[in-house]
């Protein structure tokens, strides 16, 4: 048969011959081997390995990172009720699946990059630095998964030719071992470029990984390791940037930042490819006609979060947008005279008592001309029921402004923000140290490290110093000490993507949800957390879709069977 064919070939296509006719010339593309060999090619996959952070943290609301905690309550659409309230949280939850999938898809890209690291024709030093960054990123994703799911599937090889159908779930201990081993191996080769993964980043996350393992596996020695790494990450740094300035849109990548998902107006492919962090926290501010910030209003800062702040705490004003001028972003516009332009909304708060008509008359004095026709004011109320009664109404509570992106104010899109998403900063490292100290029952040291953050310049409105809402040093138990720590971290890190994991690892998730979360209290905390198998839903469920496909036997987390 072959001979006949060749004979035909020669006869019919004498010009070029069969073989050549059937060759492919991929003029617009390039093969992995050809591409990753070059510096440009390898740089490309390094860049996308970082860009996976945008997909994971900037596209979807951080439901699994913040949903169902003590300081955020359900939004008016009651979206993601499952994650906010637990009763209806099951293994088929789409947001859990999205997060899970995003993490592993990021890991695949990194695994491919690691696979081709050998052939990259760059200096040995550069190759090793890149490899260390990649290994850290891979471990970081695995750690993020551990925080949510406990024991996980470790994926440390690329999927290139041929399917991988059976990927078993390892034990929790092995999962931690992998993360810590990889991060420690990467550490020596990391550089100091603060926009990339650097030594300080790795030290911080090692502290966090050890700390998490210490709680989860009850390993006291890990608390000490956590302190060591935290100390290395702090590296003698003193908290010195005032809070408002820390979150100024023009002060990104300041000295406090350890690891941030990078965004920039010049580095997005489309106006809607920014992130959504600025619009997540607080009520809807109306449509494009008003030119305010486009809120998705995924998470409403709970009454308790407001209540945690004390009168003297300047961070309250720096965290929430308490005055909305003519257009929301006018606040950042130096050309606009804030004593002249209209005021659309005002969120007054007086301490220790309810806001009164007298307060409002006092406030308005001298501002009469600024009061817009559609002006509304929404004073804070000390009665939780009264305060949250209006939560479904547009603008009814102040929105978080820390993540505002005024440079994209003209783009009315929920994903317009080009602000970096800060995943880790040094203040958190102090808190990690404090938490490890609590783990070691050294409450005074814990309080001392929290105090170092409270001593941030400008934190106290009266120029003095802030004190802890609830003392850690004088706590009578580890649990009480943690309560004190968690109230402080709620205020310091409002809106940052830390809360759920923090509550979970300290074993406080159910307790604090029961104490502070209105939606969960309403259901009854035991009923909310109890799964059909009678166990509490303390981890997120392994997505059913992942279990269905994996040929290995994947045990489900308690509460979801």
């Amino acid at each position: 048969m072959k001979k006949t064919i060749y004979a035909w070939c020669v006869g019919a296509l004498a010009l070029s011959g069969c073989a050549k006719f059937l060759e492919e010339d991929n003029r617009g593309g390039i093969t992995n081997e050809e591409f990753y060999r070059t510096e440009a090619g390898y740089t490309s996959i390094m860049n996308t390995s970082y860009a996976t952070l945008r997909t994971t943290f900037g596209v979807e609301a951080p439901w699994v990172l913040l949903g169902g905690t003590d300081i955020y309550q359900m939004n008016r659409e009651q979206a993601n009720r499952a994650l906010m309230e637990y009763t209806q949280l099951f293994a088929d939850n789409g947001d859990v699946l999205t997060f899970y999938t995003n993490c592993y898809q990021a890991i695949q890209n990194i695994n491919v990059a690691i696979f081709y690291n050998d052939i990259a024709e760059v200096s040995e030093e550069q190759r090793q630095t890149w490899l260390a960054e990649l290994r850290f990123l891979r471990a970081f994703y695995h750690f993020t998964l551990i925080e949510q799911f406990g024991a996980i599937v470790i994926n440390d090889e690329p999927t290139l030719e041929g399917p991988r159908l059976s990927l078993p779930r390892t034990s929790l201990a092995e999962s931690f071992d992998f993360v810590i081993r990889e991060m420690e191996a990467a550490l020596p080769n990391l550089g100091d470029n603060r926009a990339r993964v650097n030594k300080a980043t790795a030290n911080h996350y090692l502290a966090k990984a050890y700390l998490t393992r210490a709680w989860d596996l009850n390993q006291r020695v890990d608390f000490t390791k956590a302190q060591e790494y935290a100390e290395a990450a702090i590296d003698g740094y003193t908290i010195s940037i005032p809070y408002e300035q820390l979150w100024s849109p023009t002060n990104e990548m300041n000295d406090e930042v350890l690891f941030a998902v990078q965004y920039d107006g010049g580095s997005i492919g489309d106006v809607s490819e920014g992130n959504n962090q600025q619009g997540l926290f607080g009520p809807y501010l109306g449509g494009a006609e008003l030119n305010h910030k486009y809120m998705t209003s995924a998470l409403i800062p709970a009454w308790n979060l407001h209540n945690f702040y004390e009168e003297n705490d300047a961070r309250y004003d720096a965290t929430f947008m308490l005055t909305i001028y003519d257009q929301y972003f006018d606040y950042y516009d130096g050309n606009k005279d804030k004593t002249e332009i209209p005021i659309r909304a005002y969120y007054p708060r007086v301490w220790e008592r309810e806001y009164t008509r007298a307060d409002s008359l006092a406030w308005v004095q001298g501002k009469e001309d600024q009061i817009a026709s559609n002006f509304r004011y929404y004073p804070f109320k000390y009665d939780e029921q009264a305060y949250r009664a209006a939560y479904q109404i547009d603008m009814s509570t102040p929105v978080i402004k820390k993540f505002d992106s005024p440079s994209t104010r003209q783009i009315f899109n929920t994903h317009a923000s080009v602000r970096d998403i800060v995943l880790a900063r040094k203040a958190e490292t102090f808190f990690l140290y404090a938490e490890a100290s609590i783990g070691l029952n050294d409450f005074p040291t814990a309080e001392q490290f929290v105090q170092k953050v409270l001593d941030r310049p400008g934190n106290a409105k009266d120029g003095g110093t802030l004190t802890l809402s609830e003392s850690i040093a004088n706590a009578s138990s580890q649990s009480e000490a943690l309560d004190g720590l968690l109230i402080e971290s709620a205020k310091e890190f409002a809106g940052e993507y830390l809360r759920w994991a923090e509550l979970r690892r300290t074993g406080k998730l159910k307790e604090l949800c029961g104490r502070y979360n209105y939606d969960i209290r309403r259901v009854g905390v035991d009923q909310a957390f109890r799964g059909q198998d009678g166990q509490d839903k303390i981890y997120r469920p392994i997505p059913q879709a992942a279990i269905d496909i994996n040929e290995a036997e994947i045990p489900q987390n308690p509460g979801y069977n």
Partner: protein, 1028 residues
Amino acid sequence: MRKFIILFFALLSGVYTFGQTREITGIVKDEDGIPLAGASVRLVESTIGASTDADGAFTLPIPQEGEHALVVDLMGYKSKTVPIGTASALDVVLIVDEALELDEVVAVGYGTVRKADLTGAVGSVGGKELQERGTTSAMEALQGTVPGVDISNTSTRPGRTFNIQIRGQNSMQGGSPLYIVDGIATGNIDFLNPADIEQIDVLKDASSTAIYGSRGSNGVVIVKTKNAGRPGETRTTVTYDGYYGVRQLARIPNFMNGREWVDFRTSAFYTYANNRYALETPNAILQNSPLLESRLYNEQYEDWLGLGTRTGQQQNHYLGIAGASDKLTYNLGVGYQQEVGNFLKEDLNRYTLKLSVEHKTSDYFSTGASINFVHGINNSGSEHGYRDILRMPSILYAHDDNGNLIAQPGIAEAIQGDGNFTSSPNPLNEINSGTEEIRQYDILSNIFAELRPMENLSIRSTFMPRFNRTRTGTYYGVVPGQRNQDVAFQNNVEGLEWTWDNVVNYNTFFGNDHKLDVSLIQSAYKTRVEGIQAGANNLPYPSWWYNLFSGAFSPNQSGTSYAETSLLSFAARANYDFKGRYLLTGTVRYDGSSKLRNKWAAFPSMAAAWRISEEGFMRDASFVNDLKLRTSFGFSGNNNGIDAFGSQLTPQTNTVIWYDFNGDPVRGFMSGPPINPVITWEKTRELNVGVDFSLFNHRVRGNVEFYDKLSDGLLMQRILTVESGVPWMMDNIGSVSNRGVEVGLHTTNISHHDWEWSTSFMFSHNKNAIRSLYGKKEDVVGEARFIGQPIEVIYDYRVTGLWRMDQLEEAALLGQQPGQAMAADTDGNGQITPADRVILGSPYPDWIGSVTSNLRYKNLDLSVNLYTRQGVFVADSFLEEFGPQNTQRGRPKINYDYYIPPGLPRYDWNDWGTHADGSPQAVWGDSGAGNENAKYPHPQNVGPYYGNNGRYTDASFVKIRNIVMGYTLPNEIVSKWKMSSMRIYANILNPFVFTKYEGWDPEYATTALSDGNGPSNVTYQLGVNVRF
């Protein structure tokens, strides 16, 4: 032998009866002068008769005295009576009976065959029949004409596309048949003007499709456009076919009216907590808007659909000129089609130009060429128009008192309420803001030379380039509340493909009874597609897509692409015919593809047919005019699912990914999908058994086919473990069987001089079943794929009812709440888990059928065509947006039976209060007993075991597709106008649909709304066919 016996008896009887006879001889020929063998020649009112021999000759004894006449009959030709007079020799010319079409020639790929000699399963539709449907699309005309071919409309837009499936879905990749237009492979036939089509043949079984090898297993649709005739007919004909029609909206679903909808909205605000439902924010329902209350009081609602739609129109004009001299023939055609859609800004204009010539230089050589140029311009208006126009509740008005469009009809200011009802922009602004225009240029051309060194040997070489350029331009302007910057985009795809076929054909007779026809085929096929696209926003002035770089360049919408593929093929086919009774066909094709690492694959097939009616023992069964049993077995392939360069491991170079390091922008490509080095074509083996019959003097004709297909090595997106970090990879890892039966029946019920009534029936049933997945006979639940079940199934919880308030505690045990859906515990383990999901149905029809009735009385004709698809169960797009699947409480819904808890606040529409200014005030009443036995759960609390049940529905239907009434003008009149014929007609398309489906149209139930899932319509046409 049979002829001899007849002749013998005839002679005998003739001799016996009349004693004195004379002999008459003659030859029976067709219009082209070709002798016809096997024609029956009979003396009127006698038993004397004979058949013509191979040269068309006959000899008959006739009585010496009296006036006599002969009746000449041959299957496929009109019966003819010839007075004998005194002649002793007669030549009789028979005219093809078009109604019978039994002798029609059928395209089988790289050649044609008489339908009577066909061994495979091929369905054939003539151009006249297609044109009579009055559609602007060839595919729509083809719908319901060929058994086993399931065509469904995918949208209501002008220029829409169609889904087609021949004998069931073979592949997980879906995949469409191979379209061959005048020898050229095209991706679809949507660009053709139906008036330019001479014939469509659909190859269905593997013995027919094997000649197309790796591209054949989804079936092959061969389209022959009107081309040059056979040299020698020295005449010129001019034809004009045209119609004009209007399209009107029809069968609008039953949407909630204003009050019904406010009730629904109220229900959707009921929230469940502390073991009860409550309306926590009653003010949110109407935002304290007296304006809305007045509208509800007066029941004065906005007709949003009416504002976004209009009466559409259709027209088609086609002028053809065909001429011939004894050596040269040509065909010229020019056509214009227009369709104006019902939705604002939708339209289609298409221009067709064709030229075809053929020159028979000598007996040894012919050459010819044709070129077909089509230019189409298709506007689809606003992408989301169909959706957005009905996202506005009818209690909101589009215009203010001055008649100006309200930018955001639902904001606080517009409704004079406390807060926003919705901040959605006015959809009419969006619709008016721009369009998407697709401009398409298609050039199909071919040039051939044929050498006939011997009478029975031909060598033909055909080169067929095809060019397509498709430009898509979109522009949408600034719309208050929607878009602060205008956006423009342009995409250009240019493809050049060529096919070069070389065919050697040899046919020979040996002995008296053996006929052999052999074709050797060599074919090379190459495609090359280049694309470029760019997007921009914030243009300084509305410049559509023509001045993109005056605005801000949008990198994500911009890019270029390149792909090429090649296919090299060798094929052979032999047809052997013994005595016209036993027919054998053998085919093999060997395909080599650039896309695979293992490039070559072979596709063999065999077919045999037995014309039982030609056998001696059938002589007495005079009611049988023709009976043929066919069987075939073979293999064909499917090359869908593997893209160019699909066997190369590459980064995803088509998409630029951005990042930055502290403000320094960087770019890169994500790693590419995994590849499978051993990937190859899907192969389908198929067994086909068919019977063709023609009975009772051809009054009952038809065929029945049974087939059994097994498609193996199916390309599937093998879903990979989520943890492996890639969603899927292609692999040859499945098998699917399709088994079915097809019946086509044409009956002539009345055939009288004045009256003629005939009916056609078409029925097909196909059973699709997955045999294996991922190489194993195991269900893959995660993908809803199950062994023994169709590829597409709807797999979900079976809802058995709703939890009522009085079952509160029982529900709580299962973690459920009143108003939520109750699912069947199908595995009976006392818990509802994902394992309780079951197969609820499949979108594949159980059967499809059509009936066409053609009635003629004198010059009047009436034809009715009915089409049905039964047993269709779908996840519906309409219900997803406008039905129970959509939980949005700010958008309109159709009337559906939803859960209402008892004893909750609800407006009392019978009791109105008065505001201070005297305007009516809506007053709260009570939901009374509620609606706890509803079909659908609480709109915002469906529960965890409901899945997507809110969008599942039966989409079976019976449609009267068209009713045509025509009048053919009498010859006396038209001849005065120098016409040879003229017919005028009226046609109604889609006048009636019988269905339980609640949305726009069951036929395109699964189409996304943005793709044109919009209102159904009825078209009224007036048309004319003229022939000079």
